[in-house]
C-alpha cells in the first residue's frame, strides 16, 4: 500500500492511454452535455469546433479513469479530492483520438485534523499528436501510513 508519506513533490506518473470514439463522445454528451458540437457530427461542422468534439467533462471523466487505474496499480490509499484549482481545455478532443496522461506532484502537506495528507498536483492529457488537450491543477487526499498516524 502506498501512503501519503510515500509521495513527494516532483514525483511523476505516466497514465495509461484512453481511446475516444465518436460513439463514446455522443453517448457522454447526450447524457451530460447535450450541445450540438458534442452530439451531432453534421451540425458540429457549422460550429466554432468545425466538427464533433468531446465535452470537456468527458475529458475530465477519462482523466479520472486514468488516475484511478494508476491508484490501483500503485495501491495508493486515495480517499477523494476536495477540488480543483484550475482546468483548461486547450485543444478539442476528437473522435479517434488516443489520450495519454502525466501527473506531477507539486507539493504535499499533512492534514492537521485527520490521519491523511493533501497532494497538489498537475495533470496533463495529450493526444496522439503530442498536443496537450487538457491541463489541470488539483488536490487529492491520501491516507497516512497507519503507524505514523498514531
Amino acid at each position: 500500500m502506498k501512503y501519503f508519506e510515500d509521495i513527494k513533490a516532483g514525483d511523476v506518473a505516466e497514465l495509461a492511454a484512453r481511446h475516444v470514439s465518436e460513439a463514446d463522445i455522443i453517448a457522454f454528451a447526450v447524457k451530460f452535455d447535450p450541445q450540438v458540437f458534442h452530439t451531432d457530427p453534421e451540425a458540429a461542422k457549422q460550429t466554432a469546433f468545425g466538427g464533433l468534439a468531446a465535452s470537456g467533462w468527458h475529458t475530465n471523466a477519462l482523466m479520472i479513469s486514468m488516475l484511478v487505474e494508476r491508484f490501483k496499480t500503485e495501491s495508493l490509499a486515495a480517499i477523494g479530492s476536495p477540488g480543483v484549482e484550475t482546468c483548461r481545455w486547450l485543444v478539442p478532443v476528437r473522435p479517434g483520438d488516443t489520450l495519454t496522461g502525466r501527473q506531477e506532484v507539486l507539493e504535499t502537506w499533512p492534514s492537521k485534523s485527520k490521519p491523511m495528507g493533501f497532494v497538489r498536483s498537475r495533470t496533463d492529457l495529450a493526444n496522439q499528436h503530442g498536443e496537450v488537450v487538457m491541463t489541470m491543477v488539483g488536490l487529492g487526499m491520501i491516507a497516512r501510513r497507519p503507524e505514523a498516524a498514531a
Partner: protein
C-alpha cells in the same frame, strides 16, 4: 430574478455577450441522483469503492455510496444545458477554476444550480467575442452547497446587422 437565458421570446435571437450583466442570478434544475446512475458512472470512469460498491462504501470515510465529483460536474452541466445554454450564443469553454466538492452527493439527492454572472471580459484579439465567468453553486434538496465552480465560456457578441425593428 432569472436572467438572461433562455432567449427572449419576442425576437427569438440568442442570448449574446451583451445580454449578460455581472451579478445576474439564476436558480434552476432538479436532477434526481439515483444509485444506478452513480454506480454506472463510477464503474465507467471512477471505479473507487465509495462510488461503485454500497457495502464497501459503508466502511469508507464517506459512510456510504457517493457520486464521483466528476459525475456531479456532469449533472451540473446537464442542468445548465436544460436551462437553455444551447440556445445562447455560446461558442466554447476554455475550462474552469475553483472547483470545490464540499459535501458528498448521495443516491436520493435532488440537485439544483444557483448561478451568478461573476465577470465579463471583452476579447482583445477577437472583437466578435467575449468571455463570461459564471460562479455556479450546486445545491442538494436540503439547500446545502455540495459543489462550487467558476465556469468560463466564450460568447459571441451581438452582430450589428441583427439589430432591427
Amino acid at each position: 430574478m432569472n436572467d438572461p437565458v433562455p432567449p427572449r421570446a419576442a425576437t427569438g435571437e440568442p442570448v449574446y455577450f451583451e445580454d449578460f450583466e455581472v451579478g445576474q442570478t439564476r436558480a434552476f434544475g432538479a436532477y434526481a441522483v439515483t444509485e444506478a446512475e452513480v454506480v454506472a458512472f463510477g464503474r465507467q470512469f471512477d471505479p473507487q469503492a465509495f462510488h461503485i460498491d454500497p457495502d464497501a462504501a459503508a466502511d469508507t470515510v464517506f459512510g456510504g455510496l457517493i457520486a464521483s465529483g466528476w459525475h456531479t460536474c456532469g449533472m451540473m452541466m446537464r442542468m445548465v444545458c436544460d436551462d437553455g445554454l444551447p440556445r445562447t450564443a455560446v461558442l466554447a469553454s476554455p475550462g474552469f477554476d475553483n472547483l470545490k466538492w464540499l459535501r458528498p452527493v448521495r443516491p436520493g439527492d435532488v440537485l439544483s444550480v444557483r448561478s451568478v454572472v461573476a465577470e465579463k471580459i471583452e476579447s482583445k484579439s477577437k472583437p466578435d467575442q467575449g468571455i463570461i465567468k459564471i460562479a455556479n453553486t450546486v445545491l442538494n434538496q436540503a439547500g446545502e452547497a455540495v459543489m462550487t465552480i467558476t465556469n468560463i465560456a466564450f460568447y459571441r457578441r451581438r452582430p450589428a446587422t441583427t439589430v432591427s425593428g
